[in-house]
């Protein structure tokens, strides 16, 4: 089949959605499909959004390919007779984050007009799709609640999970993710202060372009609390090779973003490395993968509660190992695989 994979991109910032598109492309190619991946640069500046949305509407690929799979918003505005959405998140600041501190459009009449136009355009494009899949229940619920459309949950796998391995259990918790405010690496640092055990923390990943102050804040906090011996920061893009080693050697992984759309690739990578995941009750999509006490722990987003979870796994290595092993089972239980994903997308 000839397939167009379409997405938007914020140039030079790699994150989950970059990998999502890359891996989907690889997976389709590995099944002998011919794939054209279109990555359209997109600025999240609300004053430029409507123009850019119109641009997507005007670019015409409707005569090419047997199917178009649209991923990151608002790439689904591209027109195609066989359009399928694998919807990974809304432009949230005009949806569920409207009225919160994350709202980036002023609540003026003009701001409301921008918001309405974006939602209206989404509603049109969503109804053009042959099928809509979402990457989590959270996102499917939002689609139902805000856009009144049904989406089927199709959990995104990682590429070549067999690359990951367990290398016994070290004495550090690994928080591997882009470094940015809503991933809450700082909360993990605060938790280390409250641990009884000498458990360590490794924070690894590239800081977002605007997250340099946040990184500074983390560093400062580490210094203030004299945690230099216990907290290691690797503030850069981590190669696959390093990543595999970091996961293999950790005691367990931490992934506790605020209200995330999906379980996040780091959680899957941890499980494929046989490691448990500590997340938080308000982390959103991670709660669809992690079952408290089974394949990880879900403390409240409170440093002391998180510290207790860290200590528990440090004290009971056997428990940590069992939870890690349960993680792999949980992945197959949820049907997280490329076979499932591609069968659904192409059926």
């Amino acid at each position: 089949m000839k397939i167009i994979v379409a997405s938007t991109t914020y140039p030079f910032v790699e994150g989950g959605s970059t990998l999502f598109v890359e891996w989907l492309t690889e997976a389709l190619k590995s099944r002998s499909h011919v794939v054209e991946t279109l990555l359209i640069p997109f600025s999240p500046d609300y004053r430029k959004m409507l123009d850019q949305m119109l641009a997507l509407r005007l670019l015409d690929v409707s005569e090419h390919g047997d199917r178009l799979i649209a991923v990151r918003p608002p790439s689904y505005l591209l027109r195609h007779p066989r359009k399928v959405l694998w919807f990974i998140h809304h432009h949230r600041t005009v949806y569920d984050l409207w009225g919160t501190k994350y709202q980036d459009i002023p609540p003026t009449p003009e701001g409301h007009t921008y918001r309405d136009a974006i939602i209206h355009a989404d509603n049109i494009a969503l109804r053009e799709a042959e099928k809509i899949f979402s990457n989590s229940k959270v996102v499917a619920c939002r689609l139902k609640r805000f856009n009144q459309v049904d989406a089927r949950v199709l959990y995104p796998p990682i590429w070549a999970p067999e690359r990951f391995r367990s290398g016994g259990s070290g004495d550090y918790m690994l928080y591997l993710s882009r470094i940015t405010d809503h991933k809450r690496q700082l909360l993990a640092v605060e938790a280390v202060r409250h641990t009884r055990t000498p458990v360590k923390l490794v924070i690894a990943g590239a800081p977002d372009p605007e997250a340099e102050p946040y990184l500074k804040q983390i560093r400062l906090r580490v210094q203030e609390c004299s945690l230099d011996e216990r907290v290691t920061i690797i503030p850069r893009w981590v190669s696959d090779h390093e990543k595999i080693d970091l996961f293999a050697g950790c005691l367990a992984a931490i992934y506790m973003p605020f209200d995330e759309d999906s379980y996040g690739y780091p959680s899957l990578e941890a499980h494929h490395s046989g490691k448990a995941v500590i997340t938080s009750t308000d982390s959103g999509g991670t709660n669809e993968l992690i079952v408290d006490g089974e394949n990880g722990l879900i403390p409240e987003p409170d440093p002391e509660a998180i510290a207790r979870a860290m200590d528990q796994l440090y004290d009971d290595r056997d428990l940590a190992r069992r939870m890690g092993a349960a993680g792999k089972e949980r992945i197959s239980q949820l049907g997280i695989s490329w076979d499932t994903a591609l069968d659904s997308l192409l059926s």
Binding site: K2, I4, Y10, P11, F12, V13, V34, E36, L38, L39, I40, P41, F42, S43, P44, D45, K48, D51, Q52, L54, A55, L56, L58, L59, D60, V61, E63, H64, G65, P209
Partner: protein, 345 residues
Amino acid sequence: MRIAVVNNCVPFLTGGAEHLAQALTTKLIEYGHQAILVRIPFRWEPPAKIVESMLACRLMCLPNVDRMIALKFPAYYVPHHDKILWLLHQFRQAYDLWGTDLQGLPDSTEGQCTRDVIRQADSRYLGEVRKIYTNSRVTSERLKKYNGLDSEVLWPPLLEAEHFSCKSYEDFVFYPSRVNSAKRQWLAVESMRYAHSPVKLILAGKDESPADRRRIETIIAEHGLQERVVWYREFISEELKAELFSRALGALYIPYDEDSYGYVSLESYFSRKPVITCSDSGGTDVVVKDGITGFTVPPEPRAIAGAIDRLYENKQAAESMGSSGCALIHELGITWDRVIEALTR
């Protein structure tokens, strides 16, 4: 520097410009920059789609990018505060091809309006960029003539020069290229009737139409040239092409009125082989200097045959002309060093 190379694309098709765009992106990274290739789908039929594509590009954003390098219409309309053009060609149907068989656009009012919109948009928006480089003198001249814009030629280098080398000077001349009437392989074959030396001609490339194929096969059959002409009727691999260049006596590159010197010439010189071209071949005169880096002859079979014979009779001269060609390429700055330096300045 964070650089976006911005080009058009047609989904599922890859042409010469796309290869160049990809190579440029790869080279920018090799030279220590961060670079991405942005490919914007372009549709030109019906003509209204052209204008829609232009508008789409104008409405797009390129955030988090320090420099934009644009290559083609209409991708070069994407706004950016630090935009440099390396113009491969404009939408020629609205310019020099208008009024010819290749006009493409209809003669209707719609067609004329489309032409005018393209011309006006080019004059206005290309005037806003920081610097315009083009790939050839012809492209620069057209830009000056139709839009009144000044530009500088930045010669496109060979994508992978390191594939090419010299092994020997054997008794064949090589002409790898798509086979069509404008590339004039038929003239090359015709010339073999008059070559006195035992030199063979090796063609490599797929015929673009049955007529192109018939024309060549007829000449071969009528004049009994089966022993003198070998034709690989396919896209040969890069390896085979490099191998044949490394052993050839010289290259033949005799298209009619090309804009550029062609990759064939560059590949030949990186293999230290002289190039025979014609006086009406166009851009080849940038690198083919008669008697110094090859021969420039009238587009006549006897003249071409004479040039082939001269290479055979004096292989030492062939060798030295090939080396001079390679030196000239570096002198002219047809290298990635020069391209990257200019585009990131």
